[in-house]
């Protein structure tokens, strides 16, 4: 699939064209950037670093109906994800797309989650490169990622300044190219080459890093290590690090009933919450923030890579930048390495 050129002036028209689908782009709500379905191309806010809330909620909604029921009636009315229709996420960052490809492994593993997978199938990801790392705490390059990374994306838009280099990456990407054919031009010959040198330049701007080598194997041996207490002393037990993490995917189920009519819904849960894994008996195998922090790190850097050969962290740095008490995953990992 050959790269094309998309002039920045045409982005508005492109979005207009794409609004025949369920179109999701970064938007600005006050000063917060997050992903929302838009009705008007003007709502899209593409001049952004990275969003506060990652686009994972598009394929894995924070609250999602699974089925409806009527009390006293055994029939369940399942949610039909198909009805949501074809979806395009336009303008997400490579790290967040890569995160989806990582989470895909879980939802298509021993049990194939029909809701998630259907939604993924319906969704085309059009990503944009990071010319400038969005945050001082970016460290995607430590984890096989790149500010120009292609994992998980269907199309990568390389920001060339006055235009984008439109790189279709998958079959869905190719279809997107067809859809947008009238807005695309042939890319100039130097663009592809220039893009790869820009990628190196962008990688070089990322200042934080970790060598993940050996961490997955080492973590279990540090189960009882005092470092866990130390790194979690200041933890408040809130859900910022997990809810804003593009790879965290824990959920809980709730039945909501309204005068005999109900739905079963699943909603995000966080391993940092005190009622996470709280048993009905009152026992909690992870009774304090120490065990919960250990679980968060271990899940990302040990359990997940052991099962799926990939670390469940893309180095977006959100958990570091947004933690109210500056708990820093890189610092924790360094301590793990040093321990």
């Amino acid at each position: 699939m050959a790269a094309k050129k998309l002039s920045k002036e045409k982005v508005g028209e492109v979005l207009q064209e794409l609004s025949k689908f369920r179109l999701i782009t970064p938007v600005k709500s006050d000063d917060v950037v997050l992903f929302r379905e838009i009705a008007d191309p003007k709502e899209a806010f593409l001049e952004y670093g990275n969003s506060t809330v990652p686009p994972k909620k598009v394929v894995f909604p924070q609250t999602e109906t699974l089925f409806r029921f009527t009390i006293g009636n055994p029939e369940l009315r399942e949610k039909n994800v198909e009805e949501e229709g074809t979806t395009v996420i336009f303008g997400l960052r490579p790290c967040d797309a890569r995160a989806m490809s990582i989470v895909d492994k879980l939802f298509s593993w021993d049990y194939e989650d029909p809701y998630y997978l259907k939604r993924r199938e319906l969704t085309t990801l059009v990503g944009m490169t990071c010319v400038q790392p969005p945050s001082i705490n970016c460290f995607c390059t430590s984890l096989q990622g790149s500010p120009f990374g292609k994992d998980g994306l269907d199309v990568l838009l390389v920001d060339m300044g006055d235009h984008f280099l439109f790189q279709p990456l998958t079959e869905k990407g190719a279809r997107m190219e067809e859809t947008l054919a009238s807005y695309l031009e042939d890319a100039s010959p130097g663009d592809v080459e220039r893009a790869s040198s820009m990628e190196e330049e962008a990688k070089g701007k990322i200042v934080r890093s970790i060598d993940p080598q050996g961490i997955a194997e080492k973590l279990p041996s540090l189960w009882e290590d005092p470092l866990w207490k130390r790194v979690s002393d200041a933890c408040l037990g809130c859900g910022i690090c997990t809810f804003l993490c593009p790879t965290c995917h824990c959920f809980d189920m709730q039945d909501e009933v309204e005068r005999g009519e109900g739905r079963r819904a699943r909603m995000w849960d966080s391993c940092m919450f005190c009622e996470y894994t709280l048993h009905a008996s009152g026992h909690n195998p992870r009774p304090t923030r120490k065990e919960r922090t250990r679980n968060r790190i271990s899940h990302k850097y040990s359990y997940y890579p052991k099962r799926f050969d990939v670390i469940a962290c893309v180095g977006c740095g959100r958990c570091i930048s947004l933690c109210p008490v500056n708990i820093d995953i890189l610092e924790i990992l360094e301590q793990v390495v040093e321990a």
């Binding site: 909604p61 609250t63 109906t65 949610k79 309204e258 739905r263 819904a265």
Partner: protein
């Protein structure tokens, strides 16, 4: 609000009445065969002091267009002080909801004694008129979201 809502709209009002004064007052209105709008549905509590201000939020969420809390006149509380506590709680909640954009007409409080069947009717009429004037609650009631 649109004109249509003012004429066709029949608001739904959840009322919390203390057993000793307001509930008795509402009973007296019945005994006296006083006719008043049927929009108000009553929950009986022993004292207005029992009514958690979050009940108001809950009722509005569930779809009520207005909420009324009614207790004994100051000094007449069967439990001496419950209505005073309620008065503080609801004043603050009402102001707070107004600050969020919830019309104060939706959050009402009244003193109705056991002998004030006639006042009960007036209160209901005023509450219903007030809610009609601001129209249906369409702000944060539970909707079928993410369906």
């Amino acid at each position: 609000m649109a004109e249509a809502t003012q004429t066709d709209f029949q608001p739904n009002i959840v009322a919390f009445l203390c057993n000793w004064c307001s509930y008795a007052g509402a009973d007296l209105a019945g005994t006296s065969r006083t006719q008043y709008p049927s929009n108000v549905r009553v929950i009986r509590v022993m004292c207005s002091g029992r009514v958690n201000p979050m009940f108001v939020v809950n009722a509005l969420q569930e779809g009520a267009d207005g909420v009324l809390v009614s207790g004994c006149h100051p000094g007449d509380c069967h439990y001496m002080q419950g209505n005073y506590y309620a008065r503080r709680r609801f004043k603050l909640m009402r102001n707070f909801l107004e600050y969020l954009g919830i019309e104060p007409e939706r959050v009402r409080m009244s003193w109705v004694s056991a002998s004030e069947g006639a006042k009960w009717k007036e209160v209901i009429e005023e509450v219903v008129e007030g809610v009609k004037a601001v129209g249906p609650m369409n702000k944060f009631q539970r909707r079928q979201l993410n369906w």
